[in-house]
Structures are given as structure tokens and as C-alpha cells.
């Protein structure tokens, strides 16, 4: 039990509103969205900021739900559970931040990385164009998603997406993605 206080202090120090580590199901995503929405509502956050945070959160969480590559239960680096991920939401003085972490196959890294870099390099106008191209383009991916998620996150965030690939073993890495939403509503 002695760890409880340090967990608490650590979360407080890092302005964490919410953190979850475990299996990601559709019901869980719904519950988290509702809970955080209620919290933002209750704290009287600016309506526009609240909407953006909620929007970005929906995309980030559903992104993980659709795209995480589960470690096989027998994998030695995954002794606990299959299909787990990390979801974290925090509020700093200037920004809300939404962080997700999940396993991806190493084979997918180059493609993911080049997509993220492309999005991070794009101007606001280019993101809009890219969004429209994909919207009117090639149908749905095999997972039923439109491939628009990250672009939408970048558009709503208005800031660069942070990311990292932490090597786990020869087959998997841990992919973390951070999106920020400014608390200062632009005029």
C-alpha cells in the first residue's frame, strides 16, 4: 500500500485527469468518453475548448481501439494480458493533452512514421486538402476506418503530434502518440 501516495502525488504533479492501462473495448471507450466529458462539463471549461478536447479524444481512443496490434498472450514481453494499451488525459496550464500507447508490429513503423511526419510538416491548408482527398477517395480500410483519424486530430489540435516508438522485442514496439489542445480559445 505504501505506493498509493506516490502514485497519487505523481498523477497530481503531472496534471493527469485520467489514466487507464488495460484492455481496450468499445464499451470502455464509451465509458471513458462519458466520464471525461462530464468532468470537463463540471469544471466549466470553455465550450469550444471542451468540444475540441472531446473530438480529439474520440479519434485518439478509437484509433487505438481499431489499430493496436495485440501481442500474442504467449509473448514473453507480455506476461499479463493480451490487447492492452495505455490511455491518458491531462490538463496543464495552457493545454489539454491526450496520450495513447499501444503495441504495433515493427513492420508497420516506417509507414506510420512517414504518415505522422507528413502530417506534422503540413500547413493548416494542406491538412484540409489532405483530409478532403482521403474523404472523397478510396473507401474504408479493412478495419472499417476512413484513415482520416490522425489528420483530424492534427487539424483540431492545431499543434504538432508527438510520437515515439519504443522497441519491445524483434517483432513489436510500443507506439505512443500525444495530441495537445490549447485551452486558450483562438479568436
Amino acid at each position: 500500500m505504501s505506493m498509493t501516495y506516490s502514485y497519487y502525488k505523481n498523477m497530481q504533479l503531472n496534471n493527469i485527469i485520467f489514466v487507464y492501462q488495460g484492455e481496450v473495448t468499445a464499451d470502455l471507450v464509451s465509458s471513458i468518453l462519458q466520464m471525461v466529458e462530464n468532468k470537463l462539463e463540471g469544471e466549466g471549461e470553455d465550450r469550444k475548448v471542451k468540444k475540441r478536447v472531446f473530438n480529439v479524444m474520440v479519434e485518439c481512443l478509437q484509433n487505438v481501439y481499431h489499430h493496436l496490434d495485440a501481442l500474442p498472450p504467449t509473448d514473453p514481453s507480455n506476461p499479463v494480458r493480451d490487447k492492452t494499451a495505455l490511455l491518458m488525459i491531462g490538463r496543464e496550464e495552457k493545454d489539454y493533452y491526450i496520450i495513447t500507447g499501444n503495441h504495433v508490429l515493427n513492420d508497420r513503423i516506417p509507414e506510420l512514421k512517414s504518415r505522422l511526419d507528413r502530417i506534422n510538416r503540413a500547413t493548416k491548408e494542406e491538412l484540409k486538402q489532405l483530409y478532403q482527398e482521403i474523404l472523397t477517395g478510396t473507401g474504408f480500410t479493412e478495419k472499417g476506418t476512413a484513415g482520416l483519424g490522425m489528420i483530424d486530430i492534427a487539424r483540431k489540435s492545431g499543434q504538432r503530434l508527438g510520437y515515439d516508438f519504443h522497441p519491445v522485442n524483434e517483432k513489436y514496439s510500443f507506439f505512443s502518440l500525444e495530441a495537445r489542445v490549447s485551452r486558450i480559445p483562438e479568436k
Binding site: 469550444k48 468540444k51 479519434e59 478509437q62 476512413a146 483519424g149
Partner: protein, 127 residues
């Protein structure tokens, strides 16, 4: 033809497609994980309606939030309306947004730019 009515949930919008009373409406939020599953019956209904539409179909979109996979399905709904319009049966769309919601306003503009369909953007009157 029979009306299609779907009640809203915290993840899916209220949908009314009622030719008898002339009410065509999408309202609320659209953030389901499986958006194709939600929209498929709507596409099927519209395909049938397109065979014998009203002389004027006025569709209201009054959405609070939607996720990116819904945005693709909403485009598909609008494309079906565009086809009805192109076949000579007038279709008008009103796209409502909150006054301070530039994101939703911009999405309406995106659809305007992508389609040959009269889409009017309108600020929602605060209740």
C-alpha cells in the same frame, strides 16, 4: 414508403426520414466505432426513396460531434441526395452549427465544396 426512425444514443444521432410528413433530419452526435453498421440501413432506405422521391426534399443536419469514420458515411448520405437532386427532384440541405463552433462550420463548407448540392449553412438558435 415507410418512414425510417432511429432514436439517438450517446454515440449515434437521431435519424428521421419521413416522406409523409416531409421531415428529414440527422441530429445529435455520431461517434460509433462501427459507423458503417449504423449507416447501412440509412443508405438502403435512401436508395429506395430515390426511386420515387418527393418533388422537394429538405434535409436538416444538426450535429454536435462526429468522428472521422462517420464523416465518410455522411458524405455517402449527401452523395445519395446529390443523385436525387441531379435527377431533377429538388433537394435542399441545411447544415446547422453552433455560433462558436468553427470546426462544424468548416466541415459544412468542406461538404459544400465537394458536392453539387445546395447546402445552406445556418447558425443554430440557442435554446
Amino acid at each position: 414508403m415507410e418512414a425510417l426512425r432511429i432514436e439517438s444514443t450517446h454515440k449515434t444521432p437521431r435519424v428521421i426520414l419521413d416522406p409523409e410528413n416531409g421531415i428529414f433530419e440527422f441530429s445529435g452526435r455520431s461517434i460509433p466505432e462501427d459507423s458503417v453498421g449504423f449507416y447501412t440501413p440509412i443508405f438502403e432506405w435512401l436508395d429506395q426513396y430515390a426511386q420515387k422521391p418527393l418533388p422537394l426534399t429538405h434535409v436538416r443536419f444538426d450535429l454536435e460531434y462526429f468522428n472521422t469514420s462517420s464523416s465518410k458515411n455522411i458524405l455517402e448520405v449527401l452523395k445519395r441526395l446529390e443523385a436525387i437532386h441531379a435527377a431533377g427532384h429538388e433537394v435542399r440541405v441545411t447544415w446547422y452549427y453552433d455560433e462558436d463552433d468553427e470546426d462544424m462550420e468548416e466541415t459544412g463548407q468542406d461538404y459544400q465544396a465537394l458536392l453539387n448540392l445546395p447546402i445552406e449553412l445556418a447558425v443554430k438558435v440557442q435554446s
